[in-house]
């Protein structure tokens, strides 16, 4: 097996091991509150993994992952609220709606680069949040929308999230090992060179954006049925900021970093909750330090340490 494929396979196995640890956590964590914290961590892990496909593997900086989670959450929520559509249809509809809106937006914004892409997706996210918040007659606006639950048991939700996270990781791994993965990484490194080698840059960037938004839509739909209430706050820019913090702290451009980052940031944020707003300061400092000194994030640091100990 060649070098990069071997590295990816190791990261995939380690990420599955981490998900297996999460799956075993309820043996120790029998408190419903902390199980809820882990469920929300997995929601964020899905968002961070989807964002990482775009930013880490394709080099496109979107500011809209939370917005597409909100779109997914409202799709299944509105279908259930207005037309009594069951979640078994509502959740796939959420994936399709987020993916279709993502594809339409991607066709426009994936011709842009750098700050223009970030600003355009940020504007789109804010417009969507304001439209949903102000469409009181249809969405109940800032009052929020009640969404039916899926299960009585919190553990059932827990294992649905574990299964979806594992499936998403497997899907990402297979994608990255395919020729699409080669093209996405080539685009990340040098769009001009990729086009010169014959890669249809706009098509593949749009495909990555669509997939990333579909994953966000799925995460949002599951979260809606778990929390049984969705509001425009789900799409706040601060939520997108949290997703980016998680991916950067864990390590972008790898399979394990976003999941580890989501767990670390969300669980420690809950632990620091009683200390008021201090968690925001801590994470902001961490992001600045990591972006400045450890571009590969905590997972990159751990990998280097492991390689160093192997060499020794």
């Amino acid at each position: 097996m060649q070098g990069s494929a071997r590295r990816m396979a190791v990261e995939f196995r380690l990420s599955l091991a981490l998900i297996a640890l999460i799956a075993l956590a309820p043996i120790v964590v029998d408190n419903a509150y902390w199980q809820g914290v882990l469920i929300v961590s997995m929601y964020f892990a899905l968002l961070a993994a989807g964002w990482n496909l775009l930013a880490g593997y394709t080099g496109q900086f979107s500011m809209a992952p939370a917005c597409f989670a909100m779109i997914g959450a409202y799709t299944t929520g509105l279908l259930a609220y207005h037309w009594s559509i069951p979640p078994s249809l509502g959740i796939p509809a959420s994936i399709l709606a987020a993916g279709a809106i993502g594809a339409a937006l991607g066709l426009i914004v994936m011709r842009l680069r750098g700050p223009y892409l970030a600003l355009t997706t940020l504007s789109f996210a804010e417009i969507m949040r304001l439209v949903i918040g102000n469409s009181y007659g249809f969405t109940r606006g800032d009052l929020g929308l009640n969404v039916p639950g899926l299960f009585e048991s919190r553990l059932a939700y827990y294992y649905v999230f574990v299964a979806v996270l594992a499936a998403a990781q497997a899907g990402l791994y297979l994608l990255l090992r395919s020729r699409a993965g080669l093209f996405l990484r080539a685009i990340r490194d040098d769009e001009v060179a990729a086009a010169s080698r014959g890669v249809d840059v706009v098509f593949w960037k749009t495909a990555a954006f669509t997939l990333s938004t579909a994953v966000s839509g799925l995460a949002g739909a599951l979260y809606a049925h778990f929390s049984q209430l969705v509001s425009p706050e789900l799409g706040l820019v601060s939520q997108t900021g949290l997703v980016i913090c998680m991916a950067v702290i864990g390590g972008i451009g790898g399979l394990i970093g976003p999941i580890a980052g989501a767990l670390l940031v969300y669980v420690s944020s809950e632990m620091l909750r009683e200390a008021g707003g201090i968690q925001l300061i801590v994470f902001a400092l961490l992001v600045i330090l990591i972006a400045r000194f450890f571009r590969e994030g905590l997972w990159g640091l751990a990998r280097r340490a492991l390689q160093g100990s192997d060499a020794a």
Binding site: Q2, R179, L182, A186, D189, D190, A193, A195, S196, G198
Partner: protein
């Protein structure tokens, strides 16, 4: 039928006429050098041919097919491959994956691309760095890697922009040997270079550009001895003197 036919191609940037009504026909199997002082429009002409800059006027035919308004990936798929003056490789991908990207993008199946990539790595003496990230390779190795990417699928024409610049003599010889072998097999090349000995040794025919215009086209030694070409290269110095 020419392999590449360039007809009255022009390109301006503001008031600067970078390419000025250039017309050239390149036959199949030709190995042509393109020389000229810095700023004479060579790279701009290559950018137009590979689709990175649209021309203001003129046509470019690749085997009778107009390509002057096609996107770079479409032109690459039609069989025009190029190498850049400033090396462009995928720095965070292995040398093998750089080649695999080129092969897979042009329609090769995985096994076929892998076999061709491994053969190219051996031919270009890059076998030892196969699994290293391209960013970790030396400047010369990166040039060789980018050069190799042009040949994952045999192109109709390969445009090489300064392939020998800042390359170790051993690597330069590896590249020159590869070019000679492929040329003998019928491969068409257009090589932009300031390395006159290499141009003399490799290219039977040479074009010379100055101030955006084509000022000479003919057998290499005749072009290099052409007073107009000598004036173009030395004129600035004479004026300065």
């Amino acid at each position: 039928m020419s392999c590449l036919s360039i007809s009255r191609v022009s390109k301006s940037f503001g008031g600067l006429r970078a390419v000025d009504g250039v017309s050239v026909a390149i036959g199949r199997g030709e190995l042509i050098g393109l020389i000229g002082p810095n700023g004479s429009g060579k790279t701009t002409l290559l950018n137009i041919l590979s689709g990175h800059q649209p021309p203001d006027a003129g046509t470019v035919l690749l085997e009778d097919r107009p390509i002057q308004h096609l996107k770079p990936e479409r032109i690459a798929a039609l069989g025009l491959q190029r190498m850049f003056q400033l090396t462009r490789v995928f720095r965070r991908m292995s040398a093998l994956d750089n080649l695999m990207t080129a092969g897979r993008a042009l329609g090769l199946a995985h096994a076929q691309a892998l076999a061709r990539a491994d053969r190219l790595l051996e031919q270009l003496a890059l076998g030892r760095v196969r699994d290293l990230d391209a960013g970790q390779l030396s400047g010369g190795q990166q040039k060789l890697l980018e050069f190799g990417c042009c040949f994952m699928v045999t192109p109709k024409i390969a445009l090489l922009d300064e392939p020998f610049a800042a390359v170790h003599p051993a690597m330069k010889e590896t590249m020159a040997r590869f070019i000679r072998t492929r040329h003998a097999e019928g491969q068409t090349f257009l090589i932009v270079s300031h390395d006159m000995p290499a141009v003399v040794e490799l290219c039977p025919r040479t074009l010379c550009m100055n101030a955006g215009a084509l000022i000479a086209d003919g057998p290499t030694r005749a072009v290099l001895n052409d007073p107009v070409v000598i004036e173009a290269y030395l004129g600035g110095e004479e004026e300065a003197a």
